[in-house]
């Protein structure tokens, strides 16, 4: 990796101040994406500003929703009794033990990897992403390949997931990386049926056809006969667009079945 200035932020405001003062700075939560990128010399930030000491970790459940601080690790989420089972299972299925012990929810959502799990959960439950500047609905947050609605200098503070009557996540892991080749999150949320798909396209997105089918009939059978066109679906050595499109429906069915 190239040399950079390492700074530790004491609060989210301190992080924002340090970020704006830096020539070409970046914040680091768990570093599970940033560190490998730095090691490969694929990025050369002037400053890396750690959020580890910024007080952004923690989980609170007010009965209607759970709010997870941005630097809460996947392992902490997976182990928390304050977190609904569906979110615990999402966290439990991310990466490996090392990644789960360092990687954070804020980092995952801000990075918006096309195959990440948390973006599907955020979309599927209609989460709200709270930053140092504002609240952003998950529906407005994930805008493209590694792109989000975050402005320059905007840092995620927490993510709030409202309760859902029923919810489940079905993930078909890439055999090598164990990222989602396709992952589908389904929920009976307060605002209706939500279906979110990750791994299949540029970034996690809602599945309107699947939502429409499930809105009238919450059962796996309701998805029979639905086919997802393979246009715009990702393809690589692990799965063609056609295969991924097929898996979207299969995983959606399995998620509905698991949600009960």
């Amino acid at each position: 990796m190239y040399d950079f200035n390492f700074q530790s932020a004491s609060s989210i405001d301190d992080a924002a101040a340090k970020l704006s003062a830096a020539e070409d700075g970046t914040v680091m939560a768990g570093g599970q994406t940033l560190i490998p990128v730095l090691k490969q010399r694929l990025a050369s930030p002037s400053d890396v500003i750690s959020l580890a000491g910024a007080g952004l970790s923690g989980i609170t459940n007010n009965g209607d929703s759970v709010t997870i601080g941005a630097t809460t690790t996947h392992a902490e989420v997976a182990a928390s009794s304050d977190v609904p089972a569906v979110l615990r299972s999402v966290a439990e299925g991310i990466g490996d033990a090392q990644v789960r012990n360092r990687g954070t929810i804020g980092g995952s959502i801000a990075n918006n990897d096309p195959a990440a799990d948390y973006p599907a959960a955020a979309l599927g439950l209609g989460a709200t992403i709270t930053t140092n500047q504002r609240d952003i609905a998950a529906d407005d947050f994930f805008t493209g390949l590694f792109e989000t609605a975050l402005n320059d200098g905007e840092i995620i503070k927490s993510v709030t997931f409202p309760n859902a009557a029923k919810a489940a996540y079905a993930k078909f892991p890439n055999p090598a990386s164990r990222y989602a080749l396709v992952g589908v999150f389904v929920a009976q949320a307060a605002d209706g049926v939500r279906v979110a798909v990750t791994g299949a396209t540029d970034c996690a997105h809602r599945g309107p056809r699947l939502e429409a089918a499930l809105s009238g009939n919450w059962s796996a059978d309701a998805l029979d006969g639905i086919t997802i066109p393979a246009d715009h679906i990702n393809a690589d050595i692990h799965g063609s667009a056609e295969y991924r499109a097929h898996l979207v429906v299969v995983m959606a069915k399995r998620a509905v079945a698991a949600a009960g």
Binding site: M1, D3, Q40, R41, F172, P175, A176, S177, Y179, D236, I237, H238, G239, S240, Y243, H246, L247, V250
Partner: protein, 784 residues
């Protein structure tokens, strides 16, 4: 009965240091004044190198040296060698395209090294490397095993017209043609043996050091055969004369073949250490390993079987093409030819076999020996073909195998493809495997799975391998440039404990334990009083190293023979001390005894007497330290039957191995626990090839697409079942220890067992490895 001798599942002596972080690997070694090397590698699959500008890099902070290929040539350093000359069609020996340590004229694969930058720190070396300016003209590339020899394919080497390094044939073509002409039925299958990246847990590494006071060069490196490394670098590359060159392979974290060969980086560290008069370290990162380690397999094959009306095999024809990568390495040309072709009879009496093998050059990393080396490719095509043949004949796969097995009473059996098997009972291992796997109960399990929406299949693999490489005269006559004997020295220290020097090298096989058990068995010295030393040319005699499941089958006999010499000399000493005739001395369990008396002397007392020879037999040399070299008369032939049972989710193509049964004939087991571990590891390797591991180069750009663990899928524990491992040993005629070798068996046997099971589950003829979920899903879709 000697405690902890042959047959004891003794916990591995070496594991104490490995499990407590006390292992000493090459990257753990740091020498005073050490510098760090970083290679500038070609980003292009095929490109002319117009110019290389290193001026800026030379002045970069911390950089102490920047070198190109010409610098090595100026010091008369030779290129990397191909260690075999295989004679092909028309008596034509394989072409050997030259390879400089740092390539100069053009880059021939992504990762081909061109410049080395040496600096005070690795980061500074990388910074310097970024300042090297290379002007390339990109050329069209070819990475295709089947297409590299096509008209108009980009040419890698002038020395290899049409990118063909060798056109080789084996067997009696006319007899095979006649068999097909008279066949009642024929079967054929076209298949791909997928390229693998070996991915030893420890990446390759080297530390070179030069002592100007003694003119000695020392090279620490990740090697399976440090003496051979020294020999090659001394005799062919002019790095240093052997007597001034120490090569040390300390603890090595896995080799699987990939650490047999002399690599560019190793030569650079040894040469540059003298050039700059400071130690030079290079450690591969994983990405570099993917690009530059020797890969394995990569054949495209058509196999055909001719049968009589009863399903007896009467002729087999194989037409195959093997990808050698961009350059020929030490063994590479011998793998798809000798090590592959000679195994094509398998366990069967097929009287006529003909193989045409074309070895082609492509713009990919060099391909060489990898766990099994040629034998997995042979076994895969044969065991797939046998299942296809069973389908053609309407016979159960077990039945067609039985009808064609070489029977135990036919041993020794001369195959039509050179090898003469010395032992084996293939019916016995198949019968045991089928019983252990409950083959008869399969249809009930299949029906039960169907009720759950799952497709269940069962597959067999009756494999044989030629191990214990190898009789020197035999391999020499075939063009291999070395002898493949092995050596051992058994040294009693005056206090009665024992140091064993072996010419083999342990990089995960447990030699320090198994060899100590062997010496315990022979000499009666407690196993804790025996240390096994290997891996350092300054300690112990020349040896050929570890590969081809040879360490016990060849190196073990050298140890046993050295022990026999110890006993023979000990008898003379004991006879003198006990005042008896030498012929009356008996040796058992560590004691020399005058037959029929209670007059006895322990081997420790004999050792002490040998070193303090106050009262000593006339004409006998002091000391108790014996060396033995052993050259085998034949290969060893481990064999067995494996049964794989899979369950497939047709909606996703996901597959679970629900049961895997191995019955192997390894002869005598020295340490059954270690053997079982070797079987498990081999099976993981073979199942990885069958289901997960595919090395992929982009057809257009020649870039390595599967260049990290994010894209190259290694087997993990949750991909594997709990293995059912059992044995059906027979006694080899040519091995005085009765051992055969076990390290490669799983990697050889598993791929066809797994694919045969999948094919059985789906009711199809064939599908190619790796059988990823999408591959299986598509096959299931097509079949339904």
């Amino acid at each position: 009965m000697v405690e902890n001798g042959i047959g004891a599942s003794l916990a591995r002596k070496e594991d104490v240091r490995f499990l407590t972080g006390k292992g000493n690997y090459t990257d753990d070694i740091n020498r005073p004044g050490q510098t760090y090397a970083y290679l500038v590698r070609s980003p292009h699959a095929h490109a002319t190198i117009n110019s290389v500008d290193i001026a800026a890099a030379k002045t970069a902070p911390g950089v102490v040296g920047v070198f190109v290929g010409q610098d090595l040539l100026d010091d008369a350093v030779g290129g990397l060698i191909c260690g075999a000359s295989v004679t092909g069609k028309g008596g034509e020996v394989n072409k050997v395209p030259p390879r400089n340590v740092l390539t100069m004229d053009k880059a021939r694969f992504v990762g081909d090294p061109i410049v080395v930058v040496i600096a005070e720190t690795l980061a500074q070396a990388k910074d310097g490397a970024e300042m090297v300016a290379i002007d390339y003209t990109e050329l069209p590339s070819t990475v295709s095993t089947s297409g590299a020899d096509a008209d108009g394919a980009p040419l890698l080497h002038e020395e290899c017209p049409n990118n063909v390094a060798l056109d080789w044939e084996l067997g009696d073509k006319a007899a095979v043609d006649a068999a097909f002409a008279s066949a009642a039925k024929t079967a054929e299958v076209e298949l791909v043996n997928n390229r693998m990246v070996t991915n030893a847990m420890e990446p390759r590494a080297a530390v070179g050091e030069y002592n100007s006071g003694t003119d000695e060069t020392t090279l620490y490196l990740t090697s399976q055969n440090p003496h051979v490394h020294r020999l090659v670098m001394s005799a062919f590359m002019n790095i240093a004369p052997e007597h001034k060159f120490r090569v040390v392979a300390p603890d090595v974290g896995g080799g699987f073949g990939s650490k047999i060969f002399t690599y560019n980086e190793e030569a650079i560290c040894a040469w540059a250490a003298k050039k700059i008069n400071r130690p030079v370290k290079w450690t591969s990162d994983r990405s570099e390993g993917f690009l530059s380690d020797a890969h394995g397999r990569d054949h495209v094959t058509k196999a055909e079987m001719a049968m009589d009306a009863d399903g007896k095999f009467i002729g087999m024809r194989v037409t195959s093409q093997a990808n050698m990568g961009a350059y020929l390495q030490v063994f590479s040309i011998s793998i798809p030819t000798l090590f592959h072709g000679f195994l094509l009879a398998g366990q069967y009496t097929t009287p006529a076999i003909y193989l045409e093998m074309r070895c082609v050059m492509t713009n990919t990393a060099p391909v060489d020996a990898a766990r099994g080396a040629g034998r997995p490719e042979a076994t895969y095509l044969l065991e797939r073909l046998v299942d296809v043949a069973a389908g053609v004949m309407g016979l159960d796969p077990a039945e067609i195998r039985r009808r064609n097995f070489i029977k135990a009473d036919q041993m020794p059996y001369q195959t039509p493809v050179v090898q003469c098997y010395d032992s084996g009972d293939y019916d016995a291992s198949l019968d045991k495997a089928l019983a252990n796997a409950d083959y008869d109960g399969f249809s009930a399990r299949q029906a039960e799975a169907k009720g759950r929406g799952k497709l269940r299949g069962i597959g067999l693999s009756s494999y044989i391998e030629a191990c214990g490489v190898a009789p020197s005269a035999a391999v020499g006559s075939l063009g291999v440039g070395v002898g493949l004997w092995e050596s051992a020295q058994v040294r009693f220290n005056p206090t009665g404990n024992v140091t064993v020097f072996t010419g083999t090298h342990s990089h995960g096989q447990g030699h320090e334990t198994a060899f100590a058990q062997l010496v315990t068995e022979r000499l009666g010295v407690p196993v804790e009083n025996i240390d096994v030393v290997h891996g350092d040319t300054a300690k112990g005699q020349f040896g050929m190293g570890t590969y081809g499941s040879r360490s016990l089958a060849v190196g073990g006999i050298a140890i046993a023979n050295a022990c026999d010499k110890i006993v023979a000399k000990g008898k003379k000493i004991a006879a003198h001390t006990l005042e008896a005739a030498e012929d009356d001395i008996e040796f058992a369990e560590g004691s020399f005894t005058v037959a029929g008396t209670d007059k006895t002397m322990s081997i420790g007392e004999v050792a002490f007497t040998a070193y303090v020879p106050h009262n000593y037999p006339e004409g006998v040399e002091p000391g108790l330290d014996e060396i033995a070299f052993f050259d085998p008369l034949n290969f060893s032939f481990p064999a067995g039957a494996h049964v794989c049972e899979v369950e497939i989710d047709p909606d996703t193509g996901t597959l679970e191995i629900v049961k895997y049964t191995a019955v192997d004939d390894f002869g005598t087991l020295i340490n059954p626990m270690i053997v079982e571990g070797q079987v498990h590891g081999g099976l993981a390797h073979g199942i990885g090839q069958a289901l997960l591991e595919g090395c992929v180069y982009d057809d257009d750009s020649g870039q390595l697409v599967s260049g990290s663990f994010m894209d190259y899928c290694m087997p993990r524990a949750d991909n594997l079942p709990s293995f059912d491992v059992d044995y059906a040993p027979t006694v080899p005629a040519h091995n005085s220890l009765g051992v055969k070798g076990c390290g490669e068996a799983g990697a050889i046997a598993a791929p066809p067992a797994v694919i045969n099971a999948i094919v059985n589950a789906l009711g199809i003829k064939h599908l190619d490895m790796p059988a990823t979920p999408e591959v299986v899903w598509r096959a299931a879709q097509a079949a339904s």
